[in-house]
Amino acid sequence: MHAKFLRILRHRFVAVPLLIGIAVIGWNAYVVTHNGGTVRGVVLGPDGRPLAGATVTMMEQNFTTNSDRGKTMTRADGAFEFTDNRSHNIQLRAEKPGVGRSDLVVVRLYFRAQDVTLREPLRVAKHAG
């Protein structure tokens, strides 16, 4: 009985769907444990040092429009955190009145509300005009 069961298991039409099933379950398990919707990052001023008190806007980009999803302030160490991100395709921009504005940074995620920490800091610079 055991050998027969093993032979069936090795048969392609059973093994491949099984493998796909396991991969899907594994991936969903990973997704469920990592979709708190937190987005963390650091904002640096024109001089390269962390910039406190800058407002960071998060926008949700879908194919037609991008709509505002919220703003937050950077703490003393220049770090900021969003906790309510529901999208998989967001854009961030930091700005501080009198100091300047950062470029629009596109953050693409592998699933919705994936917890992510930005590798590259947002650089606020004096924009011409």
């Binding site: 194919f63 037609t64 592998y110 919705r112």
Partner: protein, 276 residues
């Protein structure tokens, strides 16, 4: 002796060369679809960029969230499984019947051949009216019924059923097997390549079926995968990368099934030896 081996290696090399050329021609357009699905660049830029420019997988993720992909996938799978199951049974039965000589056999074959000649696009309205009368609108059966039997596959079965030697069938009949058992125990195992061809072709035809689901389904939850296409051809936004990613995602199951069914092709070869 040496001359024979060099001649053989030379023919092998030329075969490989020929196949490499064929593969290049076949793969080139496909490579462009794949490349654009990874980079989403505008293909009308000149000169064309051969190597993908910083590719990423996020268009595939956009496609997943952009249309109710899991639901469409489920619909497509159910319709295809229904279609394959019915195809294998109906085609095998019909082909077995056609291997027997009976009055009206020629008429049936001409009817089948003529049915092949009626293009689907000309039958949309009447087929919809008939499905409505059967009460199968917005249902898996309504979606799958037109693909329940394929004439091409009937003739593929017929060709391979006729290759089965008479002696095996007579022996089975003497042992008291019923017709259905003969088909299941003797005919089908000996024509695995015909079965594989039938599975692959009926899967692809029902999976890529675009016009019929578009007409017969009104409930958005019952739509099949290809109907998500219009979402990426909408006038109003840039969806090039997502359009090609969508096409690749619709293609993937067909290729996966073909890879798995390939073994059947080869086993069909080896089992052929026992037939002689």
């Amino acid at each position: 002796m040496i001359k024979k081996r060099t001649r053989q290696t030379w023919t092998h090399a030329s075969l490989h060369l020929a196949m490499l050329a064929v593969s290049f021609c076949m793969l080139l357009p496909f490579y462009w679809v794949l490349k654009t699905s990874l980079t989403g660049e505008n293909i009308f830029v000149y000169p064309p960029s051969i190597v993908p420019v910083h590719p990423h997988l996020f268009y595939y993720i956009d496609v997943w969230y952009y249309i109710p992909f899991p639901r469409y996938l489920l619909n497509s799978v159910v319709v295809s499984v229904l279609s394959i199951a019915a195809n294998v049974v109906f085609n095998a039965l019909a082909a077995y019947a056609l291997t027997r000589h009976f009055r009206g056999r020629g008429a049936v074959i001409t009817v089948l051949l003529s049915c092949m000649m009626i293009p689907f696009q000309t039958t949309i309205v009447p087929a919809y009216l008939i499905t409505a009368k059967l009460g199968l609108l917005d249902s898996y059966l309504g979606l799958a019924l037109p693909t329940f039997s394929t004439i091409v596959c009937i003739f593929v079965y017929k060709a391979s059923f006729e290759a089965v030697p008479r002696s095996l069938i007579d022996a089975a009949r003497i042992d008291g097997l019923s017709e259905l058992q003969i088909i299941r125990r003797i005919m089908l195992p000996l024509s695995t390549s015909a079965v594989a061809t039938n599975i692959v072709l009926s899967f692809i035809w029902s999976w890529n079926n675009f016009l019929w689901p578009l007409i017969v389904v009104r409930d958005p939850l019952m739509q099949t995968l290809p109907l998500g296409l219009s979402r990426f051809l909408s006038y109003h936004e840039n969806t090039t990368g997502a359009l090609y990613a969508f096409c690749i995602m619709v293609l993937a199951p067909g290729i996966l099934l073909f890879l798995m069914a390939q073994k059947e092709f080869i086993r069909g070869l080896t089992s052929g030896a026992t037939k002689g």
